[in-house]
Symmetry: C2
Subunit: 528 residues, 2 copies
C-alpha cells in the first residue's frame, strides 16, 4: 500500500512526519506508513485541480460516466482487502463494511447514470421573438455548469461511503468538478486503497490527472489550508457541529466566500403516538433498541431522542426497551477520541439527577479498547425543555426518552428542538390525521419525515433529502445523499443570442443529446 | 398617501422621527410624512410573519396565484400616480418608469403562472420495493417547501421592479414565504403607494395579514435589526458591494446562519473582436454610447468596461464614441449620495495620468441638482492590469475602454477581472470559433454570456440568469431575475412511507394537480 500524498493522480514525497493507522479495538498501530502533507502540497493540489478543471469540465458526459463506473469497478475489485483494512481501522464489522462497499460503488454508478442520461443540467430555453413589442425578445438558454475544485473531507463514520470515493466525491466528479480529498486520520489505509483505485480509473479512462488529489494530516492544519486556498470553490464535510462550524467560519473569512456543505449531525427525534404504542409497544421497543445500537450508534441518523405521552403501554415499551438494551453487546467505537467523548457524555447523563437510566448494556468486553455500552435514559418533558444540554447529540449508542404528560407538552418538546436531519412518527393506521399541528411543528424542524420506520439506513436515490435545518446542516437547501447532491457543485450560466455551433450540446437546437429541456415553458425532449 | 409603517398589513404609529422624500433634481422635499421604524416594530413584523407563515404556506396554489395577480392589478390601477411619484423621487423619466410598472406587474403575473402550473416544486417520487434484496426499499417522495419570513431590501435603482412588490417580493410570496420590506429611503412615497396596493390585494384575496409588513428608515439601524432577527429566514438585497457585504457579515454572525442574496453590481465587460469592429465600428460606438448612458448608467448591467485589440477600426470606434458621448445630455441621478459618489470617482479618473478621456458629455443643465455627465475613458491593458482600482464599479454613465496590444494581452485583461453579472462578445459572423480560450476565460467570470448585444435590459423569463461569481453576487448559484428566482426561498423535504391522504397533493398517487413529476426516474405527468 502506497501511503504517500497524491497530487494530480501521482504519488509525491513529503518530508513531514510519518503517520500510522491505529486499530481502535486494540490500540495497536496497523502496518503502512502515511505522510503528513504541507502547505506546498495544498497549493499544488489546488493549482493542478484548477488547471484540470478547464479540461475536465469539457469532457464528454459519457466519458465522465465511464470514469465514475471505472472507479466503481476498481473498488469492487479490491473489496476483500478493503473490507479487511477498513474493519481493522474502524472497528466496524466486516458485514457492515461489505454493505458499505456496495453502497459506495452503487453511488458512483448512480451518478454515472445520472450524467449519462443528461437531463440533470436543467436546460431551459426561451427562443427569440424579434417582432415582440415594445422590445424584441432575445434568445436565452440556461444550464448548470460546474463551479471548480471541491475539497472533500473524509468522514470518520463512513470510511467508504462518505470518504475518498464516497457520495461527495462521486457527485462532485459527476458535476464536472475536480476533487481534492483530505483523508480522515481514522482510516489512512482505507483511504490509500480507495485512492489507488481512483488512480487506476484516471489512467484507464485517460482523465486529466489534476482531477484527483489526496492529502494526509493528523491535525487541522491541512484541512484549514485547503478551505482557505483561493482556488477552492466548495467544501464538503460530515462530522461534528464543532468541526463543521469551524470550516464554515474559515470560509466566511475568505476574501471570496465559497459554499461549505457541513452535515453536522442530529438527534433525529422519534414521536410515539398513543395508538402505535397500544398495538405494538414491545415490538417497537425491540425495533428501536436495534436502531439505536446499529453500528455502535455512529450514524448521523441515529435515533437519539424518543418521545411519548405517559400511558400504561409506554410502561410496557420502557420495560422491553430496558431488557433489549441490556442484552446488546458492547461495541468498538471508530476512534479513541469518539469513545472517550461518548463515555464522558454518557457518564454525565448517568450522574444527572434529572435523567433516569432506562437501560444500559452490561456485557463489556474487557479485552478490547474503546468500547461503548449502549445507554437509554428517561427524562420528563419539563426537565427536557428546561435544560438545553439534553438536546445536544451524544454520538454513539445512546437515546433519551422524553415523557410528556399530554399532547400540549409533547408539542412543546418538539418546539424546543433544533433542526434535524430526520423526524419520525410512529402512529396507528388512522391516527396521524388527528395530529396535524404536531406534524406541522415537526416539519419545520427536519429535512426528512418518516412514518412507522427507523431513521437509520438512508436510501440513496433521486427522492432522498439528507440535510435539514440548522444545526443538522448549515444549509438545508441541499442534500448530501442521493442524486440531487450533484446540485451542490454547479451554478447556472445563461447564453444570450449565442451562436448555435458554439453552444453546449445540451442547449443546441434539435436537442442532439435527447435530454429533457424546458423550451418556451414546455418540458420536452422534442423541439417544436 | 399613508406613510406609516405597516405591520401585518395594518398601518401602525411609530413615535420616532418623521422622514421626507427628496426630489433629487431640485433638492426639495416632496409632500408626504413617513416614519422611522423601531426595534419593537421589527420584532412585531417578524413575529406576525412567522405566525402567518403557518397559514400562508398551506394556502392553495391557485389562491396564492390570485393574490399575486391581484397585487399586479392593484398596481396597474394606480400607474399614473405611481409613475409621477416615482419620477419625482428618483429623477428617472416617466417613460422609463411606465415601462418599469409593466415589468413589475409582469413579474407578479409570471410567478402567479409558475405556481398555478405547479411543476416548479420539483416533485420526485420513488415508490417502495418491499421485496428488494438485501433490504426493502421504502417509498420516498420529495418536494420543495418554503423556508419562512423573507426580508426584502428595496433597491434605489429600480423603485418598482426591485422594490416593495418587485422581483424579490414576488418570488418570495410565490414560494409561500411572508415578506417584510425595508423601504428604500430614496423613494418613501413610491414604496407607500405600492404597499397600499399590496394591502388591498391581501384584503381582497383574504390572505393571512402577516404575509406583508413594511418598515421605513433613513439609516442602517432597522435594516441591521431585520437581518439579525432570529425569525428572519432569508434576505434579499440589490445595491453596492459595501452594503451587500455588510448584510452578509451580519448574517454570518447570527447564531443560526441564513442565506443572504446580495446582488452587488458588476462592470459587465464587453469584448470587441476584430471583425466586429471592421464591419461596424461606428454603429457599435453609437449603440454603446446609448447603453452606457441609459437611465444615467444606473443599472447593475451597465457596460462599465470595454476592451479591444488596437487597430485602425478601433480608432474609428473611439472617434464616434467620443462624439456620441459628448452629445448625451446630463441626467439627474437617483440620490444626492449617488451623484456625489459618481462625480467624485469620475473626477478621480479624469485626474489620473494612466487614463485618457475619450468622451465627456458637456451639456450640463445648471438649474438642476445631482446631475451626472457621461464619461468614457481609455487605458492601456498593462495599466489596467497593474491597477486594481480601475476594475471597481463606478455606478453611473461611465465606461472604460481597455486597449490591448494583442490577443495575449486581451486574455490577460479578462483573467484579471472579478466575477461579473454579464460578459458580452461583439464578434463577426464566423469569428467566435477562433477565440475558444478567450470565451472559456470569460465564462468563468460571469453568469450570463451575450453575443452581439448590450447587457442592459434583463429579460424576465424562465431561462434568465442574473447572478454571477463573487463579487457580482455573493452566491452565483441563484438568480434574482426570472422565474428561477423562486428557488432562493425553498428547501427540499422528503416524506418516507408517508400516508397517502396526508401527503401534499403534489406528491399524492394519481397526481391530482397534474404537474410534471419525476417518478421512479421518469419525468412524467402520468403515474404508471
Amino acid at each position: 500500500m502506497n501511503g504517500k500524498n497524491i497530487i494530480a493522480s501521482e504519488y509525491v514525497d513529503a518530508n513531514e512526519k510519518s503517520l500510522h493507522a491505529i486499530n481502535p479495538a486494540t490500540g495497536v498501530a496497523i502496518d503502512g506508513d502515511f505522510f503528513k502533507a504541507n502547505e506546498k502540497l495544498v497549493n499544488d493540489a489546488l493549482t493542478s485541480a484548477t488547471e484540470a478543471f478547464q479540461l475536465y469540465r469539457s469532457v464528454n458526459k459519457d466519458l465522465k460516466a465511464a470514469f465514475l463506473n471505472t472507479i466503481a469497478d476498481e473498488i469492487a475489485a479490491i473489496t476483500d482487502e478493503l473490507v479487511k483494512r477498513a474493519s481493522a481501522e474502524s472497528g466496524l464489522p466486516m458485514a457492515r463494511l461489505q454493505g458499505e462497499v456496495g453502497r459506495t460503488t452503487g453511488q458512483l454508478r448512480l451518478f454515472a447514470n445520472l450524467i449519462a442520461e443528461g437531463s440533470w443540467v436543467d436546460a431551459t430555453i426561451e427562443t427569440a421573438q424579434p417582432e415582440r413589442q415594445p422590445l424584441p425578445k432575445p434568445d436565452i438558454r440556461r444550464m448548470m455548469i460546474p463551479i471548480g475544485p471541491v475539497v472533500v473531507f473524509g468522514a470518520s463514520n463512513f470510511p467508504l461511503a462518505f470518504s475518498v470515493a464516497g457520495g461527495d466525491t462521486a457527485s462532485a466528479l459527476a458535476s464536472g468538478c475536480p476533487v481534492v480529498v483530505k483523508a480522515h486520520p481514522a482510516h489512512y489505509g482505507t483511504s490509500a486503497l480507495v485512492a489507488a483505485a481512483i488512480l487506476n480509473a484516471v489512467e484507464k479512462t485517460k482523465m486529466p490527472k489534476g482531477v484527483f488529489s489526496m492529502l494526509y494530516d493528523d491535525g487541522y492544519e491541512i484541512g484549514a489550508a485547503l478551505v482557505k486556498h483561493p482556488q477552492t470553490k466548495a467544501v464538503t464535510f460530515t462530522g461534528s457541529f464543532k468541526g463543521g462550524m469551524a470550516l464554515v467560519k474559515l470560509a466566511d473569512e475568505r476574501e471570496q466566500p465559497i459554499p461549505v456543505f457541513a452535515e453536522m449531525g442530529s438527534i433525529n427525534p422519534i414521536v410515539f403516538l398513543p395508538q402505535a404504542l397500544q398495538h405494538q409497544a414491545a415490538e417497537l421497543a425491540k425495533k428501536y433498541a436495534a436502531s439505536i445500537t446499529l453500528g455502535a450508534g455512529q450514524f448521523c441518523t441515529n435515533p437519539g431522542l424518543m418521545m411519548a405521552i405517559e400511558s400504561a403501554e409506554l410502561t410496557t415499551f420502557k420495560k422491553t426497551l430496558s431488557e433489549a438494551i441490556a442484552a446488546i453487546p458492547s461495541a468498538t467505537m471508530l476512534t479513541g477520541g469518539i469513545a472517550h467523548n461518548y463515555n464522558k457524555l454518557a457518564a454525565e447523563v448517568i450522574n444527572d439527577d434529572k435523567a433516569t437510566i432506562l437501560g444500559i448494556s452490561t456485557l463489556k468486553d474487557k479485552d478490547l479498547q474503546n468500547q461503548s455500552q449502549a445507554l437509554v435514559a428517561e427524562i420528563s418533558a419539563a426537565d427536557f425543555i428546561a435544560h438545553p444540554k439534553f438536546r445536544e447529540e451524544i454520538f454513539g449508542p445512546y437515546s433519551l426518552l422524553v415523557v410528556a404528560k399530554n399532547l400540549t407538552e409533547l408539542e412543546a418538546v418538539i418546539s424546543s428542538l433544533d433542526g434535524q436531519l430526520t423526524a419520525t412518527l410512529m402512529a396507528g393506521a388512522d391516527e396521524l390525521k388527528d395530529y396535524k399541528s404536531l406534524v406541522n411543528k415537526l416539519t419545520d424542524k427536519t429535512g426528512r419525515l418518516i412514518l412507522n420506520g427507523v431513521p437509520t439506513g438512508v436510501e440513496v436515490c433521486a427522492a432522498m433529502q439528507h440535510g435539514g435545518p440548522f444545526p443538522a446542516t448549515n444549509d438545508s437547501r441541499f442534500t448530501s445523499v442521493g442524486s440531487a447532491a450533484i446540485y451542490r457543485f454547479v451554478r447556472p450560466l445563461a447564453y444570450q443570442d449565442w451562436q448555435q455551433e458554439l453552444l453546449p450540446d445540451e442547449l443546441k437546437d434539435g436537442n442532439p443529446l435527447n435530454i429533457y429541456r424546458t423550451v418556451n415553458l414546455k418540458l420536452t425532449k422534442v423541439d417544436e
